[in-house]
């Protein structure tokens, strides 16, 4: 019953808002190049379905590649940090610098270095930089926060560092890592969009570029359709990662148990 309400209430709000929007546009005769009615957006979506889906596939590919790259790099770096305090103290400030520097500012440089002939690689690199930090931060915290007594036990039984890492530190890091991944999933999409914006005309083929292009041509309905698709993609990524989190933690972690 509560599950149903969780679905129905937001849907009811959406239906009401869309209805009010449609009515307002009709009543005040708002020009389509300022604010198209939801019905016009739906028509634009249907008319451009093929090209919008191609654009979505392109953006989604960049997002997923960047997300996977950020996971691999983030976990690997955090693992290296957990094995060497010296390494962590030496390199962590650079990770922070990478995080706090606005990616829009680095993006042109990366595009030039990688080259416009390998535009996809450049987009993936930019999105990876955006998504990397929450995974590194989550995994680092999780690897370091293992119970000291449990670590002492592994020493008592003569465990190798690898055994301690595999049996204690990594499982302990999982909830922190998954939380970082949920943030990173959304950020990878943002990174992909920003990268497309910066890459600009003639090279990018994703949804963000469709938004810029539609804006330039005053095809505002298509712009809205692309925007809605982008928002939906973000929600789907978040939902998928939330499900993964619940599934992996459902047997033992408080966060997953109270939510079920």
């Amino acid at each position: 019953m509560r599950r149903l309400a969780d679905f129905l209430l937001p849907l009811a709000v959406a239906a009401f808002l869309l209805g009010a929007w449609e009515a307002a546009v009709a009543h005040w005769q708002v020009p389509a190049y300022v604010l198209p009615a939801p019905s016009a957006i739906a028509r634009a979506f249907a008319d451009n379905f093929g090209s919008l889906m191609e654009a979505l596939a392109s953006t989604l590919a960049v997002t997923l590649e960047a997300f996977v790259a950020a996971c691999v790099l983030g976990i690997a770096t955090a693992t290296a940090f957990s094995q060497s305090r010296l390494l962590e103290r030496t390199l962590y400030p650079y990770a922070v610098i990478l995080q706090v520097t606005p990616v829009v500012a680095i993006a042109p440089l990366i595009l030039i270095w990688v080259g416009f002939e390998r535009i996809n690689l450049a987009l993936v690199i930019i999105a990876t930089i955006v998504a990397f930090f929450p995974i590194l931060a989550g995994a680092t915290l999780g690897l370091k926060s293992a119970d000291f007594n449990l670590i002492d036990l592994t020493r008592l039984y003569g465990a190798s560092r690898l055994q301690t890492l595999w049996r204690i530190r990594l499982p302990n890091a999982l909830p922190y890592l998954l939380s970082g991944m949920k943030t990173a999933g959304g950020l990878a999409l943002i990174g992909a969009v920003v990268a497309e914006f910066v890459a600009g005309s003639g090279t990018a083929t994703g949804l963000a570029w469709r938004i810029v292009e539609s804006g330039n041509r005053l095809e505002i309905a298509t712009l809205f359709a692309a925007l809605a698709l982008l928002a939906l993609t973000g929600v789907m990524i978040f939902a998928a990662l939330s499900f993964l989190e619940w599934w992996l933690l459902r047997r033992w972690h408080e966060s997953a148990i109270s939510a079920s």
């Binding site: 036990l153 047997r251 972690h253």
Partner: protein
């Protein structure tokens, strides 16, 4: 079994935790290390386990390093693993073949009264049961020396008494040597052969009390008398 002699240990924050701490635990003995909170009991236990190295003094074991089992005040279980996997941890770390390790873990859980709970996760178990899994984990590696750091301090009295009786039974059946850190006079008077009374800052032994036999219940006159003697020694230690 194990002898600590002339041990000194200073913490990184500069506090002299232990100074000239010496005691021995003989094979098959059940010895309590009793003292007020913060007197360095746990530090002494960690030194005995070889998890800390002393600044001065020596820790010697008569016949080579014994297999040690360690139980903490917290159950210290892995929340992501079931009771069986938790109990099997020492064997997994020692790379004991899986089938053999499984058999040992099942046997250890049965010995602490948890047969049938092999697949239960820690969060599904009560505080007392979690402590039992923790003891099963210590037993799984078949230790000669069992070190317990206030294992029942976080439990209610009924659970504490039951676990105490079960521990005594395990000790008798296995011929274990036990070093039991506690701040409870009544626990030490009932469970142990000998009570070492510790003072704080710096921690050292101020009394070594051998207890008379015949303490077969918590309320027998011999146990009550033992409590009186131990309390007296503890008060002297604190006052000094």
């Amino acid at each position: 079994m194990i002898a600590l002699s002339g041990i000194a240990k200073r913490f990184p924050n500069g506090v002299q935790a232990l100074n000239d701490l010496s005691f021995t635990v003989g094979r098959g003995e059940f010895v309590s290390l009793l003292g007020p909170s913060g007197c360095g009991k746990s530090t002494a236990l960690r030194l005995a386990a070889g998890l800390l190295t002393p600044d001065a003094g020596t820790v010697t074991c008569a016949d080579g390093k014994p297999q040690i089992g360690l139980v903490f005040q917290d159950h210290t279980l892995m929340p992501w693993a079931d009771a069986m996997t938790n109990a099997r941890l020492p064997l997994d770390l020692k790379r004991v073949p899986r089938e053999q390790a499984d058999a040992c873990a099942v046997a250890a859980l049965a010995r602490v009264g948890l047969a049938g709970f092999e697949r239960a996760y820690p969060r599904e178990l009560s505080g007392g049961m979690k402590m039992r899994v923790s003891i099963a984990r210590a037993l799984a590696a078949q230790p000669q020396l069992l070190l317990l750091d206030e294992p029942f301090a976080a439990l209610d009295e009924i659970t504490r008494n039951t676990l105490g009786d079960d521990l005594l039974k395990l000790w008798r059946e296995d011929g274990l040597t036990v070093l039991f850190v506690t701040h409870s006079v009544s626990e030490s008077s009932y469970l142990s052969h000998r009570v070492l009374v510790m003072t704080s800052r710096p921690g050292r032994i101020t009394a070594d009390i051998a207890l008379a036999s015949g303490r077969d219940s918590r309320l027998s006159p011999v146990t009550i008398e033992a409590q009186r003697v131990i309390s007296g020694a503890l008060n002297t230690a604190i006052a000094a």
